[in-house]
């Protein structure tokens, strides 16, 4: 049985249930010993057309697989308290203890990213950036009474934009239900469904408060609309020269082409600085992040430098344990990847900037943070305006076993300077409460009173001021009314931005 101890599954003959594995504290059989030994084996084929390899097994086999899998690949495997799988009723219950219980110096849990999902749900695919809805991206500033749901932005050419749902628009009623004050489960369900999960083709009527204080009633029909990840390209004259700006909302496939177009436009315009608005960008493809970082810094600054190096746990110092590839530093990507209509291998345009202003908030996460970290790793000055980022320098290879896909943290991204410790995110100077890695800049609330890309919008205005004077606005930049997230240290105006597949019943609460 190889390593011995926990195991004893015997041969893997098809159709026979393997004997129950035994737990011996601190002794781990290879995860492969228990892989695909399922209480309910699946028949048929997976998304790649391969026949499921599931064999008859048991819940105990599945839990032993989780135990060994975590021991092999979990980034903090040596902080897991080894417990007998038989003492736990379900794989989900057991998975919950297969992680570190340590906390960060700020008191936050060290591992916030332990998660699982049904594999058939995880495998679902969509056209890039397509969401069911009206084309509006909502921010939930208060999920409980009195609730506050506001439009962060609307995608162009959608019912939301054509109905006038501009940034800062608040929802007062939906289908006759008071969004702010409704208390019954049934009413809240109506609200959640109508705002966050409308069926394509369904129509709902909204009473809205516009940023100017006026009210309007609109009826919108939901559909499947593609988002534009790059928007609001601007050039702003300033005392330090022409400053470029754009919002970058999502690291999805179409972003490759749109980022290239944006950078070409900004380059041709001769900008001397760039304000990159990442406040609503929760991450996605790392390749896109690498390309954008390259286009900002340019070929000279990135030559021979690492965009990022993946660091796994101490058992895997040289080889990626999932792919088998060498853990060499990953260079900045200087060419297209074929994500868009452009063929792969085309050189990317570049700005060659030596500093960058990023606008951030709590929804700035993962790949977006990697842009910041990678550029800091090559000594590009990053100025941060807004609020603390989410703090996710980690990643995983989602792994299926017996119909559940498990997300256990496997690696950390390290920049060219060897830095990747920002589990509390990046914080602009002046941040109070939980403070991450502090960057020069200004703590500024989100400002729903003005459009994104408006030079008077509080965060952009602060960025422009900081470029010109090196200081922050003397008074806190104004933000539309809003309250901090429940139990959060965040600034007013920092809210949750529900994704397209959030569980509808936990967005707004009774």
């Amino acid at each position: 049985m190889g390593i011995g101890g926990s195991g004893g599954t015997g041969s893997s003959g098809s159709g026979t249930t393997a004997p129950p594995p035994q737990w011996i504290e601190g002794v781990f059989a290879p995860a492969s010993t228990f892989a695909a030994r399922c209480e309910m084996p699946r028949a048929g084929f997976d998304a790649d057309g391969r026949r499921f390899s599931d064999q008859p097994g048991s819940l105990l086999h599945e839990k032993h697989w989780l135990r060994s899998f975590s021991h092999e690949l979990y980034l903090w495997f040596d902080e897991i308290i080894d417990q007998d799988p038989a003492l736990f009723g379900s794989t989900a219950d057991y998975f919950e203890v297969l992680k570190t219980l340590e906390r960060l110096p700020t008191g936050r849990p060290k591992d916030n990213f332990h998660f699982s999902i049904a594999s058939d749900e995880w495998q679902q695919q969509s056209q890039s950036g397509v969401r069911a809805g009206y084309g509006a991206r909502w921010v939930v500033l208060a999920s409980r009474v009195p609730r506050d749901v506001v439009v962060a932005f609307s995608e162009p050419d959608t019912p939301a934009s054509s109905s006038g749902l501009i940034r800062g628009t608040r929802v007062l009623e939906v289908d006759g239900v008071d969004v702010l004050n409704a208390t019954s489960q049934a009413e809240v369900a109506i609200i959640n469904e109508a705002i966050f999960g409308p069926a394509p083709g369904s129509s709902h009527t909204f009473t809205l408060a516009l940023p100017d204080g006026s009210e309007t009633i609109v009826t919108m029909t939901a559909g499947n609309f593609a988002s534009s990840p790059v928007q609001n390209i601007r050039f702003i004259a300033s005392a330090v020269g022409k400053v470029g700006y754009f919002t970058f909302n999502d690291h999805i496939g179409p972003a490759e082409q749109q980022l290239i177009d944006a950078v070409r436009t900004l380059r041709d315009e001769g900008i001397s600085d760039l304000v990159l608005d990442l406040r609503y960008n929760g991450g996605g493809f790392l390749t896109i992040a690498s390309q954008l970082a390259y286009m900002i810094a340019g070929s000279q600054a990135t030559a021979g430098r690492a965009f990022e190096t993946l660091r796994f746990n101490s058992k895997h110092p040289t080889l990626n344990p999932v792919t088998g590839e060498s853990l060499d530093p990953v260079p900045f990507r200087s060419t297209t990847a074929g994500f868009s209509a452009l063929p792969a291998g085309q050189p990317l345009p570049q700005l060659g900037l030596s500093r960058l202003v990023v606008l951030t908030g709590g929804n700035t996460c993962s790949a977006s943070e990697t842009i910041i970290n990678s550029l800091r790793g090559i000594d590009l000055e990053v100025i941060q305006i807004g609020a603390r980022t989410c703090g996710k320098p980690y990643g995983t290879y989602p792994t299926d076993n017996c119909g559940t896909t498990w997300f256990t943290t496997m690696f950390q991204g390290i920049n060219d300077a060897g830095f990747g410790d920002y589990p509390d995110g990046f914080s602009p100077a002046g941040t109070t409460g939980i403070v991450g890695v502090t960057l020069p800049g200004c703590s500024v609330s989100d400002d729903f009173s003005r459009p994104l890309g408006d030079s008077q919008e509080a965060r952009l205005a602060a960025g422009l001021a900081f470029l010109e004077t090196g200081t922050c606005p003397s008074a806190p930049a104004t933000a539309a009314p809003g309250r901090a997230r429940l139990g959060s240290d965040e600034l007013p105006g920092e809210g949750e931005m529900p994704g397209p597949e959030w569980l509808r019943n936990r967005i707004l609460l009774p």
Partner: protein, 121 residues
């Protein structure tokens, strides 16, 4: 014999020419429920799924369509995976004669969309 050879060359050249013309980047027109359903079914089958979410205007604007895993969020609202090491799958529409052909870039697999109408870009 020489004449036959020459005719053969001309015919071959013609075939090559039509083959080159056979696949011109295209976009959909006059999309109706049937053609939309067919497109959705073809793409779903291509990616090994029972269904797939496509934009209401898929392939109408530019003829290129990227497919990726539907974004999920964890219990804290963080996007999964926030650091994705993968890549989307790219499909492109071409017109060949009167046929509208969907081609997957990486695999070069192709499907004729029987219900679709398309025009060259």
């Amino acid at each position: 014999m020489k004449a036959i050879w020459l005719v053969g060359v001309i015919l071959l050249a013609g075939c090559l020419k039509s083959a080159v013309e056979a696949e011109t980047p295209a976009r959909l027109i006059n999309v109706d429920a049937a053609s939309r359903a067919e497109l959705k079914a073809v793409v779903a089958a291509a990616i090994g799924q029972a269904t797939v979410r496509l934009a209401d205007d898929a392939l109408i604007e530019d003829g290129v369509m990227l497919i990726e895993r539907t974004p999920r969020t964890d219990n804290l609202g963080h996007r999964l995976p926030g650091r994705d090491l993968g890549a989307p799958r790219r499909f492109q529409l071409f017109r060949a004669g009167t046929d509208c052909i969907l081609i997957e870039a990486d695999s070069d697999r192709r499907w004729v969309l029987e219900q679709a109408r398309c025009v060259a870009l």
